[in-house]
Amino acid sequence: MATVADEQRPAARSSDGRPPRRAVLTMLGSYLALIALTILFVAPLVYMASTAFKTNQEATRIEPTWVPKEPSTEAFDAILSRSEQTPVFRWFFNSMIAAIGQALIVVATASLAAYALARMEFRGKRVMTAVIISTLFVPPIIFLMPTYVILDKLQWLDSLLAVTIPGAAGALGVFLLRQFFIALPRELEEAAVLDGASPFKIFWRIILPLSKPALATLFLLAFLTNWNDFLLPLFVLFSPESLTLPPGLGLLQGSYTTSYEIIMAGAVVATVPALVLFIIAQRFVIEGVSATGIKG
């Protein structure tokens, strides 16, 4: 409320050379808000990590401890030794294979298709572009039942193929890369055409190297999407050794109801790769998300 009243004063007040007091106060208020929010966002993650290194007794104590009093790797040992029912590290590798596999397929197929849609002329191009992009607006739930039947017929249920391949068919990659390719200047390609380079050579030697940031962004988004995917893996993977981490965490929660340190140890295993990737490539991830917004 105070800011509105302050605003009524003429701006000329700042002409005395010093920064206006109001600006300093606003900045201070902003910082306080930012720091309060930071605590709100970071504290739960800190608590997750700290619980993973507690003993069961400490993890279920009413008085919360933010730093474990008796740090222990008990929970991680449990995950490793009791690995028949809940092989968390197996899930980790399954998740890695599925996420890397899907991200590679997305980048490879989407870049080829997006290049054709952005640069080549062929019959049915406009209709095809419209159909592919319009599927971005179809609520994904309608694919769940038929996909399950298809996976059953292909005998892919309970295998990593079920959580790697269908998700790679989404249109987001084609959409993002097509936008990117259209914005590239044509001069380089035209020079290469005059030099007699084949279209595939142009794509491989000129377009892809120019598109590294876009391809990296798409790879990251596809990796993270698959790494975090919950609904499909929850129902198409059944046996303990074929799960990925997200449905695995659900199983941990069901098997160790009050052994929160074990559940959190699993959550830490699922969090670390995503968080590390995000910290390293923060700009790519955030700019990728921003791009979907501005273009949408």
Binding site: V42, P64, F137, T147
Partner: protein, 309 residues
Amino acid sequence: MPPLARASRVRTPRRAPVGGGALAYLFLAPYLILFTFFVVFPAVYGVWVSFHSWDLLLPNKPWVGLDNYRNLLDTSTPAGGDFWQAMKATGIFSVFSVPLLVVLPLAVALILNQKFRGRNFFRAVYFAPYVLGVAVIGVLWTLLLDPNIGVVNFYLEKVGAPQNIAWTTSLPWAWVALVGVTVWWTLGYNAVIYLAGLQDIPGELYEAAKVDGASRWGRFRHVTIPGLRPVLVFVVTITILASANMFGQAWLITGGAPGNETRTAIMLIAQEGLQNFRLGSAAAMSFVLAVFLMVVSLATFFAFRERKG
């Protein structure tokens, strides 16, 4: 494009394409195979499934026409009763989460849009929960919201809140928990989209408004909001769609409890089809939900459109 590009366009009105015809299809083939098998075919096949009494465990999958849809419209049938209960749950969740997820991230983005040290750090911190995925969020908040040993109740009781609030098994607390967790999880995502939109608004517009003596509120009202309108429509739409697709939080945190009060539409569809194996009925539900969502998103789109005129 610089003038050079424009000049060459004038000289050769029809640009020579890089390749075409059969070759284009070769480039498209790998993606189109995936797209046909896992997008186009399932979309059509899903309709076919919804016209059958489709139980995976039974050899016979008799044609039932529109029966699965008729059952949904009749709330006295088990499927119809469950479905509208779940639609109601999804509606309650959306009504509370969407406004929060439209307004709060905008406030955060406005703060982050000022020039100050550490801006990118804060942006990354707020975005971080989003990269974790719903399974981690679900098990983490199950711990934090545990009525007996959770930190949320521990600190709330310190400031005089009632003891042992049952966040996951009683109303309205289950909704407060689900909405709160979802806001915590996805606030940063919407904020990042807003921030990109804010940075696209030319600074001169603010300068001009200042010269005209516009107050801070005036500048927000007459420069920021109009400049942000397309982004606002986008955020509202994706937030409605995301809320309507809510599944993991309810599955892991409340399990639909108390009773089936927090069982969302997606959760019911997944259970009906993939646990009880009534895939025909579940497919019909998914199409009714999809039609609902399309109507709602079109309505939002036009609601925002009209106000402009």
